[in-house]
């Protein structure tokens, strides 16, 4: 005895058959079926196993409130932990139950239910502790969770994201939402109406009623047509899942276009919540058996899908709408027995192990049945109102929480405003519209005149016999709530977290209130005194792809690309990411290490060509430019003569070395600040901050020209010859080291700056970025007779290390001060304020045992040290770090390993031998100056 498809009826298209498999068995469905309705129609009764106890479970509801029928789907779509009640059946779907193996019907872990008393709520705080929790954790974790993610599953297309404003957003397209949207649109408002169902209509799809002389469904269709004609947007499969600051409402639309989901960020002038109400269960023993279902859902399955819940149905209720549901089912030919607690009739227990077989009432009598439809009252769906800081109030007559004081800009209508009868919907819509200052106009006549909603409390009681389920998805029973009360977890937030009531994927939509009511009676409080937990978005799960939109894969953190990237590729460069830029690490096939050694040697022997375009070029211009740079830089820049360059450090206000770079003075009022390629935005922001804070903003201006120019660097003994071959007339008298000049190279206007990061004679040639390729080709051609070789980042890093030049963030860290690098001059001689100045006088800054930047000689044949290895010393029997190695390479120039490090008191320990430890192994090193190649600097002019 189970659910079945009736002969006629429903909104489905019986002429189109669909086949899918569930737990390996073929299921026949028709177009319009959800997976749940198809399973019911085929008589599948056990669709899942419960989370903890692996009890058999059946379909419970008809929509997003579903706690039981969770499935994994593969085939035409790939879904994990989907609610079977909200997924349309499609041909070829492979549907699997979750938390059950091999199938939901026969699950090998079903025996666990016999040990239920050992695993009540919060068992993991008390058991599985000895000898250690981590012994049990892997197996317990394996059993937790529901569905399985299949990494090789069908790729999910990227979602759209749209931003839109409107006058009125109406959430929910049932009778109240349709009516409110129509009235608002008729007064000229720009309206967006959204509903999470496949079609609009809400309760009109399963409740008989008449509006404006038409049946509810026809009225709904006509209203949608009128809304479209008035220019309103009507969105289905669209959930308004959250309200955020400054009136932002987020909507998640599934399958908006070509299988792509869409995230809507809406800023409405007004919001009308017509979000309906969700039915509650009733407390009786074994109220979780397959065949027990929400009453409204039972009616929905019959009216929408032509599926009857059973052949002998018991409807158990405590309210007038539950009775109306029973009456409608009866009128449609279902055999119904009403058990109404308002007449003193209550179910005590369901009988039947795998499916409902009968119920026993509290008076001892038994009713044979194959389905139990429960209606324990209705809870208005007010999540968005609460997210917007609305406060709920308790309505004793309606036995539910309703919206309290209005939140500006948000009003509530229909069942969400606790109008549980369609006849009253119209009045509630008038009220909601007037709260939005919208003229309600003519309201349609509703032909149904129902008695006022009547309900008698039927909450779970303390000490009820049998196992009474409160939260189906997390397997929380009334006894668990009694346990929480006994152990003093009585605040509603503790109740939730101790028992996990309301924490599953259904977020307690059908269960929270019953648990709160039980806690209230256990602790002698009223229901409102216990209250509800904080409401947080999302109302239902939102796909991660909707939140990331276009920001995935290569668009997640888009790297920056060189103007010359294609040229490098053609030259056989291996491209890698450095500081956010895609740059050549080396050129040619073969391992990077070998290429870097080869390129570094070529650079020292003849001439290298290198793309230095990402290096910052920030122009600082104006009469106060020099003053600004004197403040921002540790070193004085105002004393720099036009046409000359100076290396300097930029400190943060904590005195830490933030960045380094060469400043070029073009003329009296024009400087170009270069900075590490990864710090350009930071330095720009820093310059702007100080400019606006301390200087006249009409006397100094900042312009970040980094990407406007490409920079090609030539380095090596033959670099001058290459430039001369390219047509440049230069000599050391007019272009000395650390000077700059604007010249023409053929018809290319370039800036040539003699500055060196390699220690060899070096020229940085900058040109407008769109002319980069011409410059590169010109210099490459000119360099051919000299054996010019392209070098990548790896070779450059070796060359500068041989000279002891720092790389910010590699040879400096978050504690490095300028004196650690041996730069003490400006602190002594500078007369003006500069960023970080006072920090250099602190006790910490003047500590004699500060780390110093030095070199380390390798004293064995073990090759280069590992970067990050620590210098160590034993002090009072304990191992102590002296600092660590920041850079380490094999030097092809010197044919031996070299290293740079920050070692405590290093400057006073030149020549000392220390121990260096890495992964437990110790080696010896001699402290030396950082520069191990050409310390006199002769090669700068070589």
């Amino acid at each position: 005895m189970t659910a079945y498809r009736v002969a006629t009826g429903g909104l489905v298209d019986r002429s189109k058959t669909i086949r899918f498999t569930f737990d390996g068995k073929t299921v026949e469905a028709v177009e319009g079926d959800t997976i749940a309705s198809a399973l019911l129609a085929s008589g599948v009764s056990i669709v899942a196993r419960s989370f903890k106890y692996h009890r058999p479970r059946g379909v419970w509801g008809a929509g997003v409130e579903e706690p039981n029928a969770i499935v994994d789907v593969s085939g035409p779509v790939s879904l994990t932990n989907a609610r079977a009640t909200t997924v349309l059946a499609r041909n070829g779907m492979i549907v699997c139950s979750v938390n059950a193996a091999p199938t939901a019907v026969s699950d090998r872990n079903a025996f666990i239910d016999r040990f239920a008393r050992f695993i009540p709520a919060a068992f993991y705080y008390k058991t599985f502790m000895f000898p250690t929790w981590s012994l049990f954790e892997p197996s317990i974790r394996k059993m937790a969770g529901l569905g399985t993610i299949v990494p090789e599953g069908a790729a999910v297309p990227a979602a759209d994201q749209v931003n839109v404003g409107c006058d009125v957003l109406v959430v929910g397209a049932g009778p109240a939402g349709l009516l409110a949207a129509l009235r608002a649109a008729e007064t000229g408002c720009k309206v967006i109406l959204c509903d999470d169902g496949f079609a609009v209509g809400g309760s009109l799809l399963h409740r008989s009623c008449s509006i404006d002389g038409m049946d509810g469904r026809s009225w709904a269709d006509e209203t949608v047509a009128r809304l479209h004609a008035l220019g309103a947007s009507v969105l289905t499969r669209t959930t308004a899942f959250g309200i955020y600051d400054h009136g932002l409402v987020a909507l998640s639309q599934l399958d908006a276009v070509n299988g792509r989901d869409r995230l809507w960020r809406v800023r409405p002038g007004k919001v009308i919540l017509a979000t309906g109400a969700i039915e509650r269960s009733l407390p009786f023993a074994n109220n979780d058996r397959p065949g027990v279902m929400l009453a409204e859902a039972g009616l929905a399955y019959l009216k929408r899908y032509g599926v009857a819940p059973g052949r002998k149905v018991v409807v158990a209720t405590n309210n007038s709408v539950g009775k109306a549901t029973a009456d409608e089912l009866s009128a449609l030919g279902i055999s119904v027995t009403l058990v109404d607690s308002r007449n003193g009739s209550e179910i005590a227990t369901v009988n039947g192990a795998k499916h409902v077989e009968s119920v026993t009432l509290s008076d001892g009598s038994t009713i044979t049945c194959d389905a139990v439809l429960v209606s324990g009252g209705f809870t208005p769906t007010l999540h968005l109102y609460c997210q917007a800081k609305g406060k709920l109030t308790w309505d004793e007559t309606l036995q539910t929480f309703v919206a309290g004081a209005p939140v500006p800009g948000i009003s509530v209508a229909g069942a969400a405003a606790a109008c549980f009868d369609i006849a009253l919907v119209v009045d509630s819509v008038r009220l909601a519209l007037s709260q939005c200052e919208i003229d309600a106009g003519n309201t349609p006549a509703s032909a149904l005149s129902l008695p006022a909603f009547d309900i008698s409390p039927a909450w779970p009681k303390a000490g009820q016999s049998g196992r009474v389920w409160i939260d189906l998805q997390n397997d929380v029973t009334a006894k668990d709530i009694e346990l929480a009360a006994r152990e003093n977890f009585v605040s509603v937030e503790h109740l939730k977290r101790y028992t996990t009531l309301g924490m599953a994927t259904d977020q307690g939509k059908t269960s929270n209130l019953a648990g709160i009511a039980l806690m209230a009676s256990l602790t002698d409080r009223s229901i409102p005194e216990v209250g509800t937990t904080t409401y947080r978005p999302p109302f239902t799960p939102v796909p991660f792809t909707s939140l990331s939109g276009a920001r995935q894969e290569t668009m997640l953190n888009p790297p920056r690309r060189l103007a010359l990237e294609e040229v490098h590729r053609v030259m056989g460069a291996r491209l890698m990411e450095y500081g956010g830029w895609i740059r050549p690490s080396h050129y040619g096939e073969g391992p990077m290490e070998e290429a870097a050694q080869r390129e570094a040697l070529a650079a020292r022997e003849s001439v290298a060509i290198f793309d230095g375009s990402p290096l910052g070029k920030i122009e600082v211009v104006g009469p106060q430019a020099a003053e600004l740079l004197d403040f921002v830089f540790y070193n004085s820049m105002s004393s720099l003569k036009p046409g000359r360059c100076r290396y300097g450090l930029i400190l943060s206000e904590s005195g830490l070395v933030y960045d380094d770079g060469v400043v070029i003075r073009v003329d009296e009022n024009r400087f170009i600040v270069s900075c590490s390629s990864s710090h350009v935005a930071g330095v720009h922001t820093m310059l702007e901050s100080w400019r606006q804070d301390r200087f006249s903003t009409d006397k100094v201006f900042i312009h970040n020209a980094t990407t406007a120019y490409a920079t090609v660097t030539l380095s090596g003994p033959k670099s001058k010859a290459v430039l001369e071959a390219a047509g440049l007339v230069i000599d050391d008298a007019t272009l000395a080291h650390m000077t700059t000049s604007e010249v023409s190279l053929g018809d290319l206007a370039v800036r040539v700056t003699r500055v060196s990061f390699t220690g060899d004679r070096s020229y940085e040639v900058s040109v407008r970025a769109d002319q980069a390729e011409r410059l590169w080709q010109l210099l490459s051609e000119s360099g051919k007779p000299f054996g010019i070789a392209p070098i990548g980042m790896e070779a450059l890093l070796i060359l500068r290390a041989e000279k002891g030049y720092i790389v910010i963030g590699k040879d400096t860290d978050g504690t490095t001060l300028p004196m650690d690098l041996g730069m003490n001059g400006p602190l002594k001689s500078k007369r003006v304020e500069f960023s970080g100045n006072r920090s250099l006088l602190t006790a910490e800054a003047t500590r004699p045992d500060r780390p110093n930047f030095i070199g380390l000689e390798v004293m064995d044949d073990g090759g280069p040290f590992a970067p990050g290895a620590h210098g160590i010393e034993m002090t009072e029997g304990r191992l102590r770090s002296l600092g660590y190695i920041t850079s380490s390479y094999h030097s092809p120039t010197l044919n031996k390993p070299i290293a740079l490090a920050l070692i405590e008191r290093g400057y006073s320990r030149i020549g000392d031998i220390i121990e260096v430890q890495h992964l437990g192994a110790r080696r010896r090193a001699r402290i030396c100056a950082p520069c191990v190649f050409d310390p006199e600097g002769d090669r700068l002019n070589g």
Binding site: H246, L248, T842
Partner: protein, 89 residues
Amino acid sequence: MQIFTCPFCGPRSETEFHFVGDFPKPRPDGMAKVSAETWSDYLHNQNNPKGAASELWMHMACHEIFRMDRHTVTHEVTGSYALSSEAQS
């Protein structure tokens, strides 16, 4: 996402802005004349009021720093004001 109003560019998404600090935040100039406590307070302490706050923000699109008054609990923005260079120091 909140909406902040740059005095120069108009209302923009909060993601375009960078928090700078309290308004005002005068810098203790004077090098050695500034006590360690004063300098440490400047570096490390923020007002962080619960309620009405005056703050400095930078709009990253135009790089201008401006003053924004807001309520740190309700997130209401009560005003955005341009700063003039004369107002500082």
